[in-house]
Symmetry: C3
Subunit: 204 residues, 3 copies
Amino acid sequence: MTQLLDLVGIFVFALSGALVGVRRRLDVVGMAVLASMTALGGGILRDLVLNVRPAAFFSVGYVVVPLAATVIVFFWHPHVLRVMPVVNVFDAAGLGLFCAVGTEKAMDAGLSPLHAVLLGVLTAVGGGVLRDVLSGQVPILLYDRQLYAVPALLGSVTMATLYALDLHGWPATLSAAVLAFGLRIAAVRFRLRAPLARGVTPQE
Amino acid sequence: MTQLLDLVGIFVFALSGALVGVRRRLDVVGMAVLASMTALGGGILRDLVLNVRPAAFFSVGYVVVPLAATVIVFFWHPHVLRVMPVVNVFDAAGLGLFCAVGTEKAMDAGLSPLHAVLLGVLTAVGGGVLRDVLSGQVPILLYDRQLYAVPALLGSVTMATLYALDLHGWPATLSAAVLAFGLRIAAVRFRLRAPLARGVTPQE
Amino acid sequence: MTQLLDLVGIFVFALSGALVGVRRRLDVVGMAVLASMTALGGGILRDLVLNVRPAAFFSVGYVVVPLAATVIVFFWHPHVLRVMPVVNVFDAAGLGLFCAVGTEKAMDAGLSPLHAVLLGVLTAVGGGVLRDVLSGQVPILLYDRQLYAVPALLGSVTMATLYALDLHGWPATLSAAVLAFGLRIAAVRFRLRAPLARGVTPQE
């Protein structure tokens, strides 16, 4: 179950990466690279920190799913763009799932709750940061229009708390993911933003 | 023999990195950083994924060769630029060697052929991606004018196939490298490109 | 003692990261990300190369100190900017401490002096490179106006030499750090620069 949710998260993140590739008029190789990095980058960074071999290099699904997303975007990107609001909902779902799963794996590996939360957030946002850096943009994470890291933080804290209370398994994971997902959707809907330093006006 | 080929690959990749430093008018430190990252970055990323200490931090040659390339470019870059077509041939040779050696090391470490191929491509293109990101450019890999990742993919698939057939050793490595090299040279010669998503026109 | 020096280095590096966040008008999340990456990035890269779990994910201080720096900059950045020359002195201190501590840890882990020096320099400059890449700038390291990597190199070489002479402990670390610090301060004061390749004029 958790694994299925994980693959869904990878798929929607890969869609968003491949679409950035189309928008920047990259060829199919660039699309596949961006799709894979967006989908797998966060998990790879997490596993490097945990000092284990990245799961992406041991699972067939992790390789095939981003390529499938690339093929879909390659042939039907106008249709994908038309359902982009739906993709954004999926992206929020991916964010929620990745922060919950990342925090869980970090707790399993013996990190403190504080550090597990950090690593959960890194898992959730790392792929997007790599996508933006590779495609030559300042990571959207840093601007965080409409709260992006904060929902991941909420989901990670929830997961770490549940885990510390000995509540494991996919119901706990899903609850944390749903919370993060909900806050992210609310942030997009109501344009919630993180504050800027005193006296600083937002960038255009 | 394989080791000698490896050092040749590192040397030509370092030349290309140091030349980017000259073109961007960086000082000798920037040149040395770009030369080293271009030459060693792919192998370092590969070793991080394989969860072993990067070979670059245990071999003297891996440190000295990029510095030698930096010194050469520092003093004689106009001559190096004049023989740049030759350097491009060497770069294609480096690409071929790195994808073959990377795939081999990944198979040695017990990865599946599918994942060994991925890691082989990462070894071949990783250094160039780091060079481009550090020097503030969108990685040339993403545009892939004149097929860059695809030859590496061909070389990696060849290497993994030979390895799976129990054909090890430097003749196998060299065959895979030569195939990748040949396709890369043909791609430059005949301007072979990967396709763009349906209805997308190439960037200028 | 070494640990206290380490936290001081982290604090001043985090200040510099958070200030870049203010200058680029990022929100508090972006500021915290830049502060943490600047302060912890070099050490994380070092630990990844040494194939151990990054210290940043096992120490509470390493997480709290960059956040404290972010809070200070968030509320009092005009005051921080006014004392910026002081912050630059601290930054030079951080550079010195990080190269010395990084080289020491690398020697402890059994690297050769040559490679320990490289890793010491990576520890010192890695965080700044990540800060610059994330905020969409070419790393200041590459331009190296007023020698940045060279003082780190001097400090690392000193540390490796002392270590090879069996001179361990914080007096050795501090000596190496002070040397690097002194050269960095002198470089800023007297505008010392690394040379450019023959016939190349510096960028504007």
